[in-house]
Every structure is written in C-alpha cells, then in structure tokens.
C-alpha cells in the first residue's frame, strides 16, 4: 500500500513538471495553431542555465532558477519575433519543420558550449520527509506544491487580468476580438513568453531528478505534446488534468508493469486520444 502511495506521489511530481512545461505549448497550439517544437529548447536552456549559475558559478539553486527564467524570456522573445510570427496562417507543416529546426540548432549550440556528455545536478534540498511509513524527498513534495501554485496563479491570471481575459477571448474567437480593435497577436506574444518562462522553470525543476543532456528537449517535447493533445489544445484545466493523469500513467506503468514501458505507455494514451477525439487545427 505504501508502495502504491509512493508511486502515486512520484507520478504527481512528473505530472506537475509536465503541467508546468505543457501550459505554454498548449496555449501556442490552441491560440495560433502552431506545433511548437522550439518549446523543448527553452526547457533545455532553462536546465542548462541552472547548471551554469548553480554549479559553474557556485550560486545557490534559487539563483539558478531565477537565472534560467531570466535567460528564457529574451530567447522566447526572439523565437516569437523571428520564427513563430512568420508562421501565422501558414500551412502547419512549415510550422512543424521550422520550429523543429530551431530545436535542432539550439541542441547543437548547447552541445557546443557544454559538451555532449550528461551533466548531473544534485537535489537542492536533499532531505527526506517521513509521513508514517512513507518516505518522500522533500524536493518532490515542493514540486507538487509549486505546480499547484502555478495552476492557481494562471487561473487567476486568465480570470482577473485584462491580458488574461483578452487571451481567453482570443482562444475562443480570434476574429471577434480583433474586430474590437485589439491586437490579439500582441497578447498571444505575451502569453508565449510567460509559457516559455514556465518551460524554463520546468527544466530547472526536472534537472535534479535526472541529468542534463543537449537532447533533453527532444524527449520532453513529445511527452508534452501528449499532454496537450490529451488535455485539449488551449484548454487550461484540461492540460492540468492530462498532465497529472499522464504523470500517474508514467509512474504506475514503471512500478507495476515494466519500467522501460513508461514512455511508450504515455504515447499509447496519446495515440488513443488522437484516434477517438480528432483535433482541428486552426491553421
């Protein structure tokens, strides 16, 4: 039983990180109909920025996290300005190809600066918390709490702020919002940057649980597409539910079936959802 609860908690950790990364992807997909592979690059850059600040420069983990987000914002701006913006209304194939190219360029740049070998990052807290017979790394508990905070924060952002409201309206009917004289694209760009900063945060959070390698963006982005598709594009609550569900599928498969099947199981869920609930891309 304790084993079961433990694997559920581990699944929620993975789910929380997937949620934090996927939210930006979901918004780009839902709002602009763009399949954005470059999102995986921002995630990887976030993790490497953490490594640079926390390990190479010797600052603490929190500074590393701030550094990662600080790096991701100008990078996201550049990607939005020079790549994504040119792809509005274009055939979806070119969006897939162009953003994949960005991911490829970025991964190679990371390999250039940091080398191809995997880099470890140690758990910043390193404590175990005990609840009865259950033991849980404190760091993982914090990730779950943080994912909850992000969810609440984003819900408030989209309900209470003007920018958030415009984006929600734009998701439903872009033309109608535009006819009110609002430049929807500008607001989408703001949300794109917020989503990217969250992806960098996801990279920071995931780094201590795994190791860094230049191609880490490729692996995570496909899992995140699974989340976005299962949750429904541009559907904020759906993304959260899908992320935690797939996180649980991932960890329960690893514990109770075969550990190597965990990723494949997520793709099976993704394929099943794609088959039974076809998506309609707006492009």
């Amino acid at each position: 039983m304790i084993n079961f609860i433990q694997s559920i908690l581990y699944g929620l950790t993975i789910g929380g990180i997937l949620y934090i990364i996927s939210i930006g992807l979901s918004l780009t997909f839902g709002a602009m109909g763009i399949v954005n592979f470059a999102h995986g690059l921002i995630y990887a850059v976030g993790a490497y920025a953490l490594y640079t600040v926390a390990t190479l420069l010797g600052a603490n983990f929190l500074m590393g996290a701030i550094g990662a987000i600080a790096v991701s914002i100008p990078l996201a701006y550049l990607i939005e300005r020079f790549i994504i913006r040119r792809l509005y209304g274009q055939s979806i194939d070119y969006a897939i190809i162009a953003t994949y190219a960005v991911l490829l360029i970025g991964a190679d740049a990371l390999k250039w600066f940091f080398g191809a070998s995997p880099l470890p990052i140690s758990d910043p807290i390193g404590k175990l918390w005990y609840f009865g017979g259950l033991q849980m790394p404190a760091y993982r508990v914090i990730i779950i709490i943080l994912a909850g905070l992000v969810f609440v924060g984003l819900s408030l952002f989209f309900k209470k702020t003007l920018v958030g409201k415009i984006v929600v309206a734009g998701l439903q009917d872009r033309e109608a919002v535009r006819s009110l004289g609002i430049k929807v694209e500008k607001y989408f760009a703001i949300v794109f940057i917020i989503g990217s900063a969250l992806a960098a945060l996801g990279g920071v959070l995931y780094a201590p649980l795994s190791t860094l390698d230049p191609y880490m963006g490729f692996e995570i982005i496909i899992l995140c597409f699974a989340v976005v598709i299962v949750g429904g594009m541009g559907n904020l609550r759906g993304t959260a539910i899908a992320a935690f569900t797939l996180g649980l599928v991932h960890s329960l498969t690893a514990v109770y079936l075969v550990s190597s099947a965990a990723d494949a199981m997520v793709y099976v869920v993704m394929a099943v959802v794609l088959i039974f609930r076809p998506i309609e891309a707006s492009a």
Binding site: F29, G33, V35, I83, R86, I92, D93, Y94, I96, I97, A98, Y100, A101, V102, L103, L104, I105, A107, D108, A109, K111, W112, Y215, F218, I222, F225, A226, I229, V258, S260, A261, D263, A264, Y267, V268, M270, A271, L274, I275, P278, I279, A281, A283
Partner: protein
C-alpha cells in the same frame, strides 16, 4: 530543359542511371548504394507529404517495419534475400494497412503527431518486448544466401540491384501520380471538401495511398537491412524522422524527381559535408529554416523551370 526530361520516362530513367553510375564510380559504390536506398525512402514519404499533403512525423516506423521484417525473416526463417525483401515490403504495407484505418482519418497536426506517437511505441516494441525476435539493442547480424552471380554479399551487385529498385520505384510512382488516381490525390491535397462534394470517398483514396507509401518505405527499409547486413533500432528511431522530411523539402515536395534530388543532396551533405562542418546539426537546422521560409519549392522545383 529539365521539365522536358521529367515528361519523358525514358529520359528520366536514363538520366538517373547515368548520374548515379557516375557518382558511384567517382566516389564509392557502397556509399552511393545508401544514397539510392534513401531516395526510395524519400519517394515513399513524399507520396504522402508532397502528393497527398499530409506530413507524417513518424515514417521511420515503416522503414523499421521493412528493415525488421526483412531482417527477422532472414535471421529466424530462411536467409533468402528476395523472400526477405518481400516480407519486409509486406510488413510495411500490412502495418500501414492496420494503422492507416485510424491514422488516415486525422489530418494536419494530428496526422503528424499521431504518426510520431506510433513511431515511439513501435521503436519501444522493437527495443524491449520483442527483443527475442528483433535482437533488442544489439540488433540482428544478417547473412543472405547467394545464387551464382546473384550475390548480396558483393557490394557491386548490391549497388546495381538497388539502382534497379530505384528505377522501378520511380517508374511505378510516376505512373501512379500521373494516373487519374494521382490527379484525384492532388485534388484532395488542394481541397478535400470539394472532392467529397463530387461524390468521391476520399478516405479510400488516402488510405490506399498510405498503404502504398508504407510498402515503398518498407521496401527501402528491407533494402537497408540487406545492404548493411544488419538491422537495429537506429532504423526505427523516431529522432531520425527529420532527415526524410528535410530531404523531401530540399528536393522539392510533390515531384518524384524532386525526391530523388533531395535524397541525394541530403545524403551528400550528411556524408561529405558533415565531416568538414563541426556544427553539423546547426547547419542542418539553418538550412531547414531557409527551405521552410524562403525556398519552399526546393532544388528541383526551381531547376525544372530552367
């Protein structure tokens, strides 16, 4: 000049033969054999992308199916090269027929991502649960029977065999896309709703095309494992999907010769230039961006206008 060549099948085949012979004997035959097989892969992929208008981000699955079908037959059943290749083609086609029933119903982003998801699952199956048959991470080392001069252990024979295979594929696919069926396919690419209004069952046309594409790509996979005398998980790796997409885009999607030009150009760059360019993936990415933004017609798309 180039458009005239394209219109005449004999001129096309003659030109392709001469150029590959020159290229092969000027450099190395085994290497150009790889190039030729890759061209077959690109033609099969482009049947969906260029001619039908659906981008598959998981066509390595069918290459892998062909490679493993051929490899497993030769390894476990009987090492006859022709039967093995046939099994590879049939496995590629059968897998496409099975998965096509659901994949073809989707389009655009869903089509691309569903193929990618299935490719991931397939690569996992080949690596882990089926490792007793596929050899898992180590793959299978293959040996093929030889009959007199029909000797697949001889690299010169393999070169000519694969060149013949490429010519056959070019001939068949060119005839296919120029037939009324192919024209209907192009209409589906332009506007599927209108084709439906005309009373055609577009699903059947797309489904059959998907199977043909799976068979051609499976053929390329089978030839790959015959040529390399092994098959392993790199032949089904989802991360390699970008190669064929890039080749199709670079050559010019939607033309058979464009696929051949793109396949050859891509392999040339990745085999020769890659040893000079240290940041090879960066170069590939920048080139990919350039083609996606500015040169959408591809090399052949511009050359045929000359």
């Amino acid at each position: 000049m180039f458009s005239k060549i394209e219109k005449s099948p004999i001129l096309t085949l003659a030109l392709v033969t001469v150029l590959f012979l020159l290229y092969g004997y000027a450099t190395s035959l085994p290497k150009i054999t790889d190039f030729i097989i890759f061209c077959i892969f690109v033609i099969g992929f482009d049947l969906l992308y260029g001619h039908m208008g659906q981008l598959s981000f998981g066509h390595m699955l069918y290459l892998g199916a062909g490679a493993y079908g051929c490899g497993m037959f030769a390894y476990h059943v009987y090492p006859d090269p022709f039967l093995s290749i046939l099994v590879g083609v049939l496995l590629g086609a059968a897998l496409a027929a099975l998965l096509g029933t659901v994949v073809v119903k989707t389009s655009a982003a869903a089509f691309a991502l569903l193929n990618l998801a299935l490719n991931e699952v397939g690569a996992y199956l080949a690596l882990s649960p089926l490792h007793e048959w596929t050899g898992g991470e180590d793959g299978l080392s293959l040996f093929f029977e030889s009959y007199g001069w029909v000797d697949f252990n001889d690299s010169t024979f393999r070169f000519y065999f694969c060149l013949g295979a490429l010519l056959l594929v070019i001939l068949v696919v060119t005839a296919f896309v120029r037939s009324p069926y192919g024209i209907l396919l192009k209409s589906i690419k332009e506007n599927e709703t209108r084709v439906k209004f005309l009373g055609y069952n577009t699903f059947v046309y797309k489904y059959v095309t998907f199977i043909i594409s799976g068979a051609i790509v499976g053929f390329a996979g089978a030839l790959t494992s015959v040529n390399l005398a092994y098959c392993n998980t790199s032949l089904i790796a989802p991360t390699r999907n970008v190669e064929v997409i890039f080749a199709a885009l670079m050559g010019g999607a939607g033309t058979v010769l464009g696929a051949v030009v793109g396949g050859t150009a891509f392999m040339t760059i990745s085999n020769y230039l890659a040893s000079y360019i240290v940041r090879w993936e960066m170069f590939l990415g920048v080139a990919l961006l350039a083609f996606a933004f500015w040169f959408r017609k591809g090399i052949w798309g511009y050359a045929r206008k000359l």
